[in-house]
Subunit: 205 residues, 2 copies
DNA sequence: TCCGAGGCAGACCGGTCTGTACGCCTCGGT
DNA sequence: ACCGAGGCGTACAGACCGGTCTGCCTCGGA
């Protein structure tokens, strides 16, 4: 009863959410914009409600606390960013599982170029709140979901030890994101080259 | 005149600082402990002064603002962590430039195992404050110094394109740190293996 | 026509934040 | 013997935090 339980288990992505105008959707859309760009602690409840045009009572009617809203934001981020932007787009660009894996870094390259590049919210929240905080633990869980997508592609490609492959692959993804945050827009290319070597060493001998 | 200008340009590391007992040294030692473990925003000035046994007036006599103390902390972190812990220790463990490079990830392995593993303060501050904030910009600068150490070792080893080598290498370092924060203590081994491939492809053909 | 659910606006609470100010004390140099 | 620099403790200012609560209004179904 906290979050919208009538629309089904999956939160709508930001684009599909534009059509809706319910207060809970406006809150979530605003939270997505502010949290993904500026982090959690820098965005207060007062700013959230004023930016989404919602009263404070309405806010706390739908979300029992700010942390609950952050959890809903992370879930939305998993859908909008991980699934719709990265996995779906990479799968669209590649014809084989290996091509789809490497296309992840092509998508990263386009993403790094965007002027509103906001890094990875899961890493941000994890480092901002700490691994022991409930929000940090939730972020770790969403990061493991990303590895799950990579592992599934690795299994499709018939690569050796797909679980360890996904962990190494994820190191390249996270490292390139940090480098892009520092300003290295070519970080995706460097990571993609190392990713190629990783694939070669995980192919059946 | 803000920070100790009588002792020379370099701040003393935490171990060598234990002998000193000046208020400014106690403040810096406390800031190092608290900032490196819990980040910037989670540690307030009141906690800093009570933990270091210093009055608030004394604090602001030595540091004009909290941000100024954070800058001094980052400088100290560069000395204690980057130089003394990582670069010096890796150089001690390896006999050749290539061995010294790979030993970075051996040092990482030991570091990841520590119960008080606190991740990389430069990445933490960068993501916590944002790339546009002065503290974020300072963190980017200290991260580039790390790349400088790697690049110097790559030049010693006679590797091709040492600047690009260092950027790829740094991706592995940062990615493995994030993975270790998630709980993957073997991240250093995975990164080290990819680092070996990177060295091979940068050796003179 | 009525009535209650839900939305809006904003006051308010206790707590915390950075930063300032004031008073008292100790200690070292002249 | 003095006197000022610098340390300590603390109260305080002004802003903001998450969260609670009270009023008022609108709208849709019985």
């Amino acid at each position: 009863m906290t979050v919208n339980d009538a629309e089904g288990p999956t939160l709508l992505p930001a684009t599909a959410m534009a059509g809706r105008d319910e207060p809970v959707d406006r809150i979530l859309a605003t939270a997505y914009e502010l949290f993904s760009r500026r982090g959690i602690r820098d965005v207060g409840v007062n700013e959230l409600i004023s930016s989404s045009g919602v009263s404070k009572a309405t806010f706390y009617r739908h979300f029992p606390s700010k942390d609950a809203l952050v959890l809903a934001f992370l879930e939305l981020r998993d859908q909008v960013w991980t699934v719709d932007l990265i996995v779906a787009e990479a799968s669209r660009r590649g014809n084989t599982p290996e091509e789809r894996l490497l296309a992840v870094f092509d998508v990263f390259g386009d993403w790094f170029q965007r002027e509103d590049f906001e890094a990875c919210s899961f890493i941000n929240v994890l480092l901002e709140m700490g691994a022991g905080h409930p929000l940090g633990k939730a972020s770790i869980d969403y990061l493991s979901r990303i590895r799950g997508h990579i592992q599934a592609l690795a299994e499709e490609a018939g690569l050796d030890r797909p679980e360890e492959f996904a962990r190494s692959w994820h190191i390249l993804m996270k490292g390139s994101i940090i480098s892009a945050t520092e300003g290295d827009a070519l970080a995706s290319k460097r990571a993609q080259q190392m990713a190629r070597w990783l694939i070669e060493h995980h192919r059946g001998l």
